[in-house]
Symmetry: C2
Subunit: 415 residues, 2 copies
């Protein structure tokens, strides 16, 4: 087993290969890797079976077991993901800006790979191929630290990828998997500043918190979503109700699902009876403020804790407000800066909301569920950033790049 230092050094040594690979060569490699995964399916399934058996022995929950499980179809889907990444535009090399200085220096700001990316994830083996694909396409070496419970699966996927790369004479060390499952090793990995340029945690709130708490390597935080929909007094109810039902119930366990409604008091009488009926049909538990509890008998009184809770469940909180200002203040206080929507036909109120709400994505008259790399047309997604540095909202390939300034001179010195 290699030490972290050895893995880091191998990553640094592999890095220069990307200065030499053309986009076409990278795309060919991605397709070769995809084909390799399909060819190695039996071997991968064998290893996955070991993880599944251990998971069952350790009483892993059904939902987690389902995420851990691989099948021929799921391996084919992983391969298809890589083929799709091969088809996307290569952001590396893009010229972002060019300017000439009075002294004749010509400055070109050019998009470049970040370098070495560390990914820390849980027991979802598909992340192994997915993260590799996104990093490889953008010219980044990736060091993976997958969950202990998926170790056999992850190692077999990584081995398959490495073998495919080796066959086409690309150094396999562009992808490495940490196999040491010791917690201290994971912490040390988060502090490997000499070898890693950025860490991306992919997983639940607990994992992300651990990485933010412990890392000294810069982190891209992908996070939680306590998303609101504000129904303005000028809302069109025929838009409001389907949007709310979609945002709340289309998929409950995701970060862009709606968790809380903010309702203008002038519209509550028109909106609430019909909305409540729809919510009941979808078995959504309603928790509301006093005004709403007075109106509807089956609403549970909401506590202030409810306003700050991402349920990820068939529960919704509801609060009435006197005006859009109060709605904005409430949302900015309790949101996680992910996705927020206003339903209104009033352009001025919409602009105020879009302008003053602090979130990665702000919507007028649409479901919060659209905050997603694929829905935004990025063709791929490494996660949804809820921090404000580097990348915000859905992160596609560009989020895995940095830039450098290339400066052309003819002997200039500084005065």
């Amino acid at each position: 087993m290699k030490t972290l230092q050895e893995l880091g050094m191998a990553a640094q040594e592999a890095k220069p290969i990307f200065a030499k690979l053309t986009t076409e060569e990278k795309n060919k490699a991605l397709i070769a890797v995809a084909d390799g995964l399909v060819a190695d399916a039996d071997k991968i399934l064998e290893q996955n079976a070991i993880d599944m058996e251990n998971g069952k022995k350790n009483n892993m929950k059904a939902g987690l077991l389902d995420r851990l499980l691989l099948t021929k179809e799921r391996i084919e889907a992983m391969a298809e993901g890589l083929r799709q990444i091969a088809g996307l535009e290569d952001p590396v090399g893009e010229v972002l800006e060019t300017f000439e200085r009075p002294n004749g220096l010509k400055v070109v700001q050019k998009r470049v790979p970040i370098g070495v990316i560390g990914i820390i994830y849980e027991a979802r083996p598909n992340v192994t191929a997915d993260a590799f694909g996104l990093c490889f396409k953008t010219g980044n070496v990736v060091i993976l630290k997958g969950g202990k419970d998926a170790l056999h699966s992850n190692v077999s996927i990584t081995d398959s990828i490495r073998n495919s790369l080796e066959k086409i004479h690309i150094t396999p060390d562009v992808i490495q998997q940490i196999t040491d499952t010791n917690r201290e090793t994971t912490k040390e990995f988060m502090r490997l500043n000499s070898y890693i340029d950025v860490l991306i945690p992919r997983g639940g709130a607990g994992l992300i918190r651990t990485v933010v708490e412990n890392a000294t390597v810069p982190v891209i935080e992908t996070g939680t979503g306590n998303c609101h929909i504000y129904v303005d007094k000028a809302a069109d109810i025929k838009k409001a109700i389907p949007i709310i039902i979609n945002a709340k119930t289309q998929r409950i366990g995701v970060c862009n699902a709606c968790e809380s409604l903010v309702i203008h008091e002038d519209i509550k009488d028109t909106l609430l009876p019909a909305l409540a009926e729809e919510l009941r049909k979808h078995k959504v538990e309603m928790r509301g403020d006093e005004v709403i509890c007075d109106m509807l008998k089956d609403v549970i009184p909401a506590t202030s804790e409810d306003w700050g809770t991402e349920y990820l469940d068939y529960i919704i909180s509801m609060k009435t407000v006197k005006n859009v200002e109060e709605a904005i203040a409430h949302i900015n206080k309790y949101n996680t800066k992910h996705s927020e929507a206003i339903i209104t036909e009033d352009v001025k109120t919409a602009e105020k909301f879009l302008n003053e709400i602090d979130a990665a994505a702000v919507y007028v008259n649409a479901s919060t569920r659209f905050t997603d790399g694929f829905e935004f047309g990025f063709g791929a997604e490494i996660g949804i950033s809820t921090q404000k540095l580097h990348a915000r909202g859905p992160m596609g390939l560009k989020a895995l790049t940095s830039y450098k300034y290339v400066v052309y001179g003819s002997g200039q010195i500084r005065k």
Copy 2:
């Protein structure tokens, strides 16, 4: 004295003001603050005198005392800096991208302030006004934690700024200074994720290391520069020597100064005698590899430690290489990813170097000293980033912004 929580809450409450201030109003405020500083000069100088006296008592070094010292001229220069920032283009609100999705959603990616920025700095009171100006112009609230040794100066500058803002009815809490000089408070400040969006340390390597080691708030690392110049076999000596002398000696204590030469062995006999003469004239100590020590009697043998050292002094290290590949490998191994230059007339070799060297700024036939916000024409600089996330190289106003996605719908729901 306010607690950190109270400061953080006040910052959050002050934040919405920026959604309402126009660029013109921000510029007027910056000029009012500049005038206020000049008007308050006597009060500020009085407080600075206390810091200076304490500094002398505590045997502060002459260089540090000079940085701590304020004069009427220096206060006027601080004010002038603010007036210049008022004259710069406002990056906030810029539309970065617009696209329409097949379902009719119109997505606008818009530049927005980051939110609340924490600045940790040393005993340089001018940073107080400077950091405020850059943050205010970009619509960010700033919480400052200046060095203990400059506390009286910093508080008086902050008070002056706050008074000027209050007079024109802008909440003074857009700038706050932490006056608690306890080290634990500073550490707590670095972990104030609920209130602060980004931390920018401004100071020496020790300060930056402390922030990177301790912060859980995302950090923009401004850093050290072990900058190289590679003199290729196809170099024009008439360009090489002035560039090297400029990069090494024009200002020795700065991060973009040249610390190390890499010399193609085919050019050493033409270059070195004339270069050494110039370096001697500038009292630069030379440390070289065996080949160079054999050629020049006054060169001290370099150790491998020299290759990795940012001298910030009249010292230069020199290494010979067989070809550009070896030069690139050496530089990528020892550099700090700041600024690197090649001197050559060979376009192909230049392109290889510019492409394969991993640094924020790569130069052909120019001095590394140009890596600077003002030299790049940004009109201002908050620092030079040596990390790859968010911003790389000289950081102007844009580095203090994030973006948000504004999405216009007409009732879209996700399928």
